[in-house]
């Protein structure tokens, strides 16, 4: 009985692992698509940044506000870098 339970729990865990990996692959593919689009549109974002942004949008952040913040951040960062280089 205990062996069966162990076996079933092992199976379940194996299934979970396989499904998780499948999900991750799918997510990766989706992100690649978005990354490709951003490359064409010359957004200047890498995959990690894109993942964060997409996650924030999925959680309900307004894209316009987010874009404003991103652009502001970029510009401020450039200014900061220029100042610090000097």
């Amino acid at each position: 009985m205990s062996n069966n339970q162990n076996n079933s729990s092992n199976l379940k865990s194996q299934l979970k692992v396989s499904s998780l990996s499948q999900e991750k692959e799918e997510a990766q593919e989706t992100l690649e698509i978005i990354h490709e689009m951003s490359q064409i549109l010359n957004c200047g974002l890498d995959r990690q940044q894109l993942a964060i942004l997409v996650s924030m949008i999925e959680n309900g952040v307004n894209p316009e506000a987010l874009a404003l913040v991103v652009n502001e951040m970029k510009s401020e960062l450039n200014t900061y870098k220029k100042i610090h280089k000097q």
Partner: protein
């Protein structure tokens, strides 16, 4: 705060921290991190932006695509569009429906220098291909947040892409092959959808596709090679062959046959089964096909024909019969057979035109009649359009060199057998299909017989048909003259056999109860003085030899003939002679009658004269009686005269008027006889329009109008005479005469102007505007029907017609009464007084009767107009006809 909101808040904070770390590179312990965090947090939480509009984003995206296309980067535009479409298919977090649009909106807002960036950049198309082949579903990208992505440069990406390209290209070749196969299968399956819808209303007994046929029985295809194509069209054919669309429209021979049969024969239930390598015909059912469906299916049939005609390729070039090539072969063979049939059709039509032969026997068969009737509804122009198109196809196909007369294709064999089975004359078995058309065209071929050259065919000369139709309408414009023709031509029609026969029978009065007496009377009438010789047309040799001993070429005295049967025969022979209008016999008989007037009843003598149309003799006789001033004798024959010559014959005027006038009057009187019918011979094709039924209607209308006109004429005459003779006296007669004249005049207006003139104008307008012969015929029938209905000559309006006749009878009796008044001077005083009293009483009765009849008639009109509101002319007539009301 709810748990969901707390989770959300927590998530947001986490994302924000990561956002700042990834975008700024600041550590969480740094002051700049806090500032950035505060800035981002406040702007993201407390912004004033509206929710993103998916439509606006989509529109902006489309603008970007257009921009890329304008930049001569259509590939990039397509790729971008494809990526976005792919993104939309992915399963993202379901909190919002438009996550892909939101993501796109973000990317669009973050994009910069689109033009410069994409000028030198080539899209990486491998991503999509990989995804298509794998067909995997997608989950949220949230799971990728924690992954660490390698920040690779563009060069590294390109190297990776190249390696991926090599792998993908190998996969693509395999995919292409699979796709082609699936496409072919789809095309074959979906060809049914491409065929006209009309075919798929039919029920198929079996549905074997061509593929099954080919795969199962390759060897059963018996196709002879033959040169079917013209070299000049070879390039065209190759181009067309490359396009699978056209060929897939006709996937199997059976569909082609169905289309052709449907077009030719109007078959709706289908018939062909394929078994053991042969096509078989199951049921041959002909059903009614509507005009529109016939035309549409014929047009589609012709489209197929024109398409197939372009599929020209020498058969010897085909080495391995592939699926498509076999189709072409079979189609060609089929069209060869169709061509031969079409050429025969043309030949048959030409033959018929030359010979003017119509297979009437076949028309009598019920089956063919139903087919004929099916097509008879088509208008002439439509039929000729169809025939022209078919002949054009025949001409096109005729340029193909091929075997003639042999049916290599099984379907052609089926058609051939069909012809044999269903044709009723074996020698014309191949012409059966054409005959179906010909029966429908029969009435029109009659037309063509007269107006086409016999050496030409329909294709050459049917263009004259519109000209002919125009001339037809010109002829019909003269239809008003036809009424006058009726009058002139109809007079000789008085010689009716039945009429004569009745008179003769009355004259002879052979009765079975007292044959001896009847013999005597008949002898009085018909015997001649002793020793008279009969003329040659009458021979006693026609008598039965058993009855009497006959000696040929001897003269016989009728007095000596005592055998009643013989007398009957003699009388019959007399009738025959009279029917043959032997003037000699007529004269002889009349001479006899004149010589034996004292023995002959006066009225019978008059009838005899009337029968022989010797109006002059009748006039003489009447004059004689009038001269004798024997009123008794005049009264004795008065009824007869009135019956024969009309009620308005004036005895006193018999010797005043010219014989010609009397003849004219008499002819009018004769025409008023209701048994008179006009017969007119009309040239073809007018006889198609004015057929027997319309002639009956014409006669009906004419009889009524003539009767009416006659009454009016004599009323007018009597009024004139009354005014001449009695200027100051008998004003009440004049007044009543005016009443009658008022009625007659207004009713005449109603008949001739409101009804006939209006309807004739409408009819002529329709004729001028009509587009087909059938339309003219229909309009003519409607014209006649409308007139007869409006004149109350139909069965429904019998009551009204009776009332009208009663009024007109009064109109006819009135002049007679006037004449009696005027002849009072001729008699002695006692008779005059008696006659005056009689006349007064009759006049009062006549007047009352007239008033009653008029009011009854008006009531009937009124009732009619209430039932049928479309009778404004009757309302007008009612207003005018009532004298007392009119002149109030």
């Amino acid at each position: 705060m709810s748990n969901f909101q707390k989770q959300r808040e927590q998530q947001f904070e986490e994302d924000l921290e990561k956002f700042i770390i990834y975008f700024t590179g600041f550590g969480s312990s740094q002051k700049n991190f806090e500032i950035a965090h505060k800035y981002a947090s406040s702007n993201l939480k407390y912004h004033t932006f509206l929710d993103p509009d998916a439509h606006q984003i989509e529109a902006k995206f489309q603008d970007i695509l257009i921009k890329l296309q304008v930049m001569s980067r259509p590939d990039t535009a397509d790729y971008l569009n494809t990526l976005f479409q792919e993104l939309k298919k992915r399963k993202l977090k379901q909190d919002y429906n438009d996550i892909p649009h939101r993501i796109l909106g973000l990317l669009l807002l973050l994009s910069s220098n689109l033009i410069e960036h994409n000028l030198n950049r080539e899209p990486n198309k491998n991503i999509l291909k990989r995804k298509q082949q794998d067909n995997m579903s997608i989950s949220s990208i949230e799971s990728l947040k924690d992954w660490k992505f390698e920040t690779s440069s563009e060069e590294e990406d390109e190297e990776e892409n190249k390696q991926e390209d090599i792998k993908i290209n190998q996969r693509n070749e395999n995919v292409r092959e699979i796709q082609q196969k699936t496409q072919q299968n789809q095309n074959l399956i979906s060809s049914k959808d491409q065929l006209p819808n009309v075919l798929w209303h039919m029920s198929f007994n079996t549905k074997k596709s061509f593929n099954e046929f080919v795969s199962s029985n390759d060897s059963s295809i018996q196709i002879r090679s033959s040169q079917l194509f013209l070299s000049e069209n070879q390039n065209k054919s190759q181009e067309i062959l490359k396009k699978p669309r056209i060929i897939n429209m006709i996937t199997n021979e059976r569909d082609v046959v169905i289309a052709v049969l449907y077009s030719f024969l109007g078959l709706q239930s289908e018939l062909l089964t394929f078994s053991s390598g042969q096509y078989q015909l199951t049921d041959f059912d002909v059903r009614h096909m509507s005009h529109d469906s016939l035309l549409s299916s014929t047009q589609k049939f012709l489209e197929y024909a024109t398409i197939v005609c372009h599929l020209k390729k020498p058969l010897n070039m085909i080495q391995k019969p592939s699926l498509l090539n076999i189709e072409i072969l079979i189609q060609e063979q089929f069209w060869l057979g169709v061509r031969s049939i079409l050429s025969e059709f043309d030949q048959a039509v030409t033959y018929l035109l030359e010979q003017s032969i119509y297979d009437e026997k076949l028309c009598q068969q019920k089956v063919d009649r139903s087919i004929t009737l099916m097509y008879l509804g088509q208008s002439l122009q439509d039929w000729f359009v169809i025939i022209k198109q078919i002949n054009l196809v025949a001409q096109k196909i005729s340029t193909i060199e091929a075997n003639n007369g042999t049916f290599n294709s099984p379907t052609l064999t089926i058609l051939y057998n069909l012809c044999i089975q269903n044709s009723l004359q074996p020698q014309h078995n191949q012409v059966y299909l054409q005959k179906l058309f010909l029966y429908a065209l029969e009435p029109y071929i009659k037309l063509l017989d007269k107006y086409l050259d016999y050496n030409s065919t329909i294709t050459d000369t049917f263009e004259n048909l519109p000209i002919f139709l125009q001339s037809c309408s010109v002829q019909l414009k003269n239809i008003g003259q036809a009424f006058q023709i009726f009058q002139k031509v109809g007079l000789p029609a008085l010689k009716q056999i039945q009429f004569k026969k009745n008179l003769i029978m009355r004259l002879c009065e052979v009765s079975d109860t007292s044959p001896t007496k009847s013999i005597q009377t008949s002898l009085q009438y018909c015997t001649l003085s002793g020793g008279y010789k009969f003329h040659e047309p009458f021979t006693l040799t026609k008598l039965k030899k058993d009855d009497i001993i006959i000696q040929e070429n001897e003269s016989y005295s009728i007095k000596n003939i005592k055998n009643p049967n013989l007398i009957k025969v003699f009388q019959k022979e007399i009738v025959k002679l009279i029917k043959k209008e032997d003037q000699n016999i007529q004269n002889i008989l009349l001479d006899y009658l004149n010589n034996h007037l004292q023995f002959i009843k006066l009225h019978k003598y008059l009838r005899c004269l009337f029968f022989f149309e010797r109006v002059d003799l009748m006039q003489q006789f009447i004059e004689q009686i009038a001269e004798s001033q024997s009123l008794a004798r005049l009264r004795a024959i008065q009824n007869t005269i009135q019956d024969l010559l009309g009620k308005n014959f004036n005895f006193n005027n018999a010797y005043e008027l010219q014989p010609q006038l009397i003849c004219q009057q008499n002819s009018q009187f004769l025409l008023s006889h209701k048994s008179v019918n006009f017969k007119i011979f009309l040239p073809h094709p007018i006889d198609l329009i004015i057929n027997e039924n319309s002639l009956i209607l014409y006669n009906k209308i004419m009889q009524f109008l003539l009767f009416f006109k006659n009454s009016k004429l004599h009323l007018q005459q009597s009024q004139v005479n009354l005014k001449k003779r009695l200027k100051n006296q008998l004003s009440k007669f004049l007044h009543f005469g005016n009443q009658l004249t008022h009625f007659i005049t207004n009713y005449e207006y109603f008949l001739f102007i409101s009804i006939i003139q209006v309807q004739t104008d409408l009819f002529l307008d329709k004729v001028n505007k009509s587009l087909s012969f059938q339309e003219i015929i229909n309009n003519h029938n409607l014209y006649l029907k409308t007139i007869s209905d409006k004149m109350f000559l139909n069965q429904k309006s019998e009551s009204i017609l009776e009332a009208i006749y009663k009024v007109i009878d009064i109109v006819q009796n009135y002049p007679m009464l006037i004449e009696r008044v005027t002849t009072l001077d001729l008699v002695d005083q006692i008779t005059k007084n008696i006659e005056t009293m009689r006349i007064e009483s009759e006049f009062t009765k006549m007047k009352d009767s007239f008033n009653q009849q008029i009011s009854a008639l008006i009531l009937l009109f009124d009732h009619y107009t209430q039932r049928f509101t479309h009778a404004p002319e009757i309302i007008e007539c009612i207003l005018k006809v009532n004298f007392n009301q009119f002149y109030k």
